[in-house]
């Protein structure tokens, strides 16, 4: 084998690719990195606040739910208990403290625990040296509570190093199995752990660092679905791979072409639009209602502008807005006038007919 020829061909290919590379920009990389840091710091601070200051107040619970859960509809909680002395997760234990799972990540021990505290159930993580860190929430479970409460906890510590990311939460007593659907990976099946003295079961798993969860489903012993949460539509949920023609590529193509772009369909239902040497990627994630600004802020998105009645969000490198039951994403962010044009078209071009 002639190594020289192989090297020369590789160099040719690399040079060619380099000449076609379109850098999103150092600014976009720095903003993305900064937002990751801010989000991580904010997440840790929120967890600390929730865990140490007022985990049982409505505000504390709301903060915890903001950090850990997708937006849920109608998850009533019971009356807030009066302050009690501190316990493993900030509230006193009135029953045994159950260790549901434990492990080590990045050399730091962690454990996921649950216990009864009066009429409430506390659950969450302890981590770090002496298991003195972490945090959780306490709530009263009733027949009105959502059958499954999905949490996906923080991804990074304040020092920027990777921290474990978990899928965890309580699930209705009727569930024996929980399935977490991931993009591009086999689903994760978990046994829902039953603790006789608690009114709910629990599931917890450490996710691969790049995993994106799109749904969580609970099954009873007969295999019937007893709880389900669709997690798609979250900004962090990337588009699911689908068969060509089954996704929103027709709609995205129509929007981009009417805006003057030439289009090609790429991987994962992402449509590439090119106009005047400028290239954008467009894709959608499914959602049946517009996510709230506060929720998107928790995911690192700020309001970029208001285009007509539509709010456009950005994380520094992409913009997104809600249109026709979809979150539509464009990356890199076009100029403001271009955004307005695309927003307008996304409202006017019928998604179903274009698809």
């Amino acid at each position: 084998m002639d190594d020289r020829i192989l090297s020369e061909r590789m160099q040719m290919a690399a040079d060619l690719a380099a000449s076609y590379a379109r850098p999103p920009g150092a600014g976009a990389a720095r903003r993305s990195g900064r937002r990751r840091q801010v989000r991580a710091a904010g997440t840790v601070m929120l967890l600390l606040v929730v865990a140490l200051a007022a985990p049982l107040t409505p505000a504390g619970r709301a903060l915890w739910e903001r950090v850990t859960s997708p937006p849920s509809v109608g998850a009533p909680t019971g009356p807030t208990a009066p302050p009690v002395p501190a316990g493993p997760l900030g509230q006193r234990a009135t029953g045994p403290v159950h260790r549901i799972a434990r492990g080590t990540a990045d050399g730091r021990p962690w454990e996921y625990i649950a216990y009864r505290s009066g009429s409430q159930v506390c659950h969450g993580f302890r981590d770090g040296p002496g298991l003195s860190g972490g945090g959780g929430s306490c709530e009263r479970f009733t027949s009105q509570t959502e059958p499954i409460i999905f949490g996906a906890s923080a991804a990074r510590r304040m020092d920027g190093t990777a921290a474990p990311r978990f899928a965890d939460g309580p699930v209705t007593k009727a569930a024996v199995r929980v399935q977490i659907t991931l993009v591009g990976r086999a689903p994760i099946n978990l046994q829902a752990l039953d603790l006789p003295d608690l009114p709910v079961r629990f599931f917890v798993v450490e996710l691969p660092p790049t995993a994106v969860a799109t749904a969580v489903t609970a099954y009873d012993s007969a295999g019937r679905v007893v709880g389900h949460q669709d997690l798609t539509g979250l900004p962090t949920a990337r588009p699911e791979p689908q068969r060509i023609g089954d996704g929103d590529t027709g709609w995205l193509t129509a929007i981009l072409r009417r805006a003057g772009y030439q289009t090609t369909i790429g991987k994962h239902q992402v449509v590439t639009g090119t106009a005047s040497g400028h290239r954008v990627l467009a894709w959608t994630t499914r959602t049946s209602s517009a996510p709230s600004t506060s929720f998107l802020a928790g995911e690192g998105y700020d309001i970029r502008r208001r285009s007509g009645t539509t709010t456009v969000y950005t994380n520094g490198s992409r913009v997104g807005w809600w249109a026709q039951d979809r979150l539509l994403w464009i990356e890199p962010a076009p100029e403001p006038g271009e955004i307005d044009k695309l927003v307008d078209l996304s409202q006017r071009v019928d998604r179903v007919r274009a698809g």
């Binding site: 084998m1 690719a17 850098p23 990389a29 590439t272």
Partner: protein, 166 residues
């Protein structure tokens, strides 16, 4: 020069070069751009530390290689299903020789592609490849050997055949 300006200058100088290298690993220009940009975003988080490294570019390349490997693992499970349905990867207009090489590399496992690119494109010694990939030098050598054999079997350039016979 401030850290911000320094980062921008470094980004401008290295982005295209790294995309070229990652393109040979991923076989897809978009994907190469994505993993390199993500690696730069991670570098930006800790630039004050990384800027002091002897080879900041090697750190970013390593992160990008890991991201590319993760993406490849993610795809593997349903690749067979998508094989006939998915559009072809994005390739820049290229000569037949280059396309043949990219396609041949794409048929190799990621574990062979990475050391081949680091060795034949960047001319890195096996010890440095081992450090960048976090594997032993013995593993690097065996993967290079198997990868070279697999490439030789796929590439049709007569020069390869002559060289093989020699």
């Amino acid at each position: 020069m401030g850290a911000g300006e320094e980062f921008e200058e470094f980004y401008g100088a290295a982005f295209g070069r790294l995309v070229g290298q990652l393109f040979l690993v991923t076989g897809d220009l978009h994907e190469a751009e994505d993993v390199v940009q993500e690696a730069f975003a991670r570098a930006a988080e800790r630039w004050s530390t990384i800027r002091t490294y002897d080879l900041p570019e090697a750190w970013i390349r390593r992160v990008a290689l890991n991201l590319a490997a993760s993406a490849a693992r993610r795809r593997r499970r349903w690749l067979a299903v998508r094989a006939r349905l998915a559009p072809p990867p994005e390739l820049p207009p290229a000569s037949d020789e280059v396309l043949e090489l990219v396609q041949a590399l794409g048929r190799l496992p990621m574990s062979q592609r990475q050391p081949l690119v680091l060795h034949y494109l960047l001319q890195l010694p096996t010890e440095q490849i081992a450090r960048e990939l976090g594997i032993s030098t013995g593993s690097v050598k065996s993967r290079l050997f198997r990868g070279r054999q697999a490439l030789a079997a796929q590439l049709t350039d007569p020069a390869w055949e002559v060289a093989d016979r020699g």
